[in-house]
Symmetry: C2
Subunit: 117 residues, 2 copies
DNA sequence: TTGAAATATTCCCATAATGGAATATGTTAC
DNA sequence: GTAACATATTCCATTATGGGAATATTTCAA
């Protein structure tokens, strides 16, 4: 077997630095392909190809506007990564002098959750 | 150019599902190679190879203990991923009914940070 | 020293990715 | 229809992967 496809999930799609740069840019709003290419010093075809991957894994959506195609960030797609990595938070918060703060934060979060449901 | 090496950074190392499973397991404490292989139904060589990658990017550390080598999670290595993905949090918290809660949490976090420094 | 256990490495194969370059497809205006 | 712009796709070369299988290496015990 080979490495899994970049289009297999968000983890693989986001492993490529250029694609992370694209997502960072889309944080500021919709962008056309040429805008993306221009802002990040990519050639148009590569921008288009990266955007295709991001679209396939649901990290962006597209809509046509005239002869342009506007790509928009779909942040939800990153949640799986966030959720996974979050379970490791305690491994860098665990120094003793910060543990108290950390526990505090957890508690605050829990209250906030109760409030939501 | 080809895809960047799995050993180039945490993002790439963690794109492989088996390696995420290994990290999840190491959450519970040090494990020998055979423990890892056994717990996750991997063959010994593959476990060893995945652990090598994780070690190369600093996500685990090793120490010898008799004829075993005990691998230990180094959670700090995941912080870059956490930090990156964190900047997208607002994109799934942004529904109006939760925005207030979100801002609240941000504020709480800030106070907590002031307290730390 | 010899053997057994634990781990690491090597070789092979099928698969796939990235950037570059060229080209195809689409859309709009005239 | 045609020119011009925007975007997508295809082909290429290089590089690397992950699993399987076999083997090498290290470490300990007797």
């Amino acid at each position: 077997m080979a490495r899994s496809a970049t289009t297999s999930d968000a983890f693989n799609a986001v492993a490529e630095p250029q694609r992370r740069r694209i997502l960072n840019l889309l944080t500021q709003g919709e962008r056309s392909v040429n805008d993306v290419a221009g802002s990040l010093c990519l050639k148009q075809p590569q921008a288009s190809k990266h955007l295709r991957v991001l679209k396939e894994v649901g990290l962006v959506s597209v809509r046509g506007s005239g002869q342009q195609r506007l790509y928009k960030l779909n942040g939800e797609g990153l949640k799986p990564i966030h959720d996974w990595v979050k379970t490791f938070e305690r491994f860098w918060n665990e120094s003793f002098d910060r543990l108290a703060d950390y526990l505090n934060e957890l508690q605050t979060r829990e209250q906030s959750n109760e409030h939501k449901e």
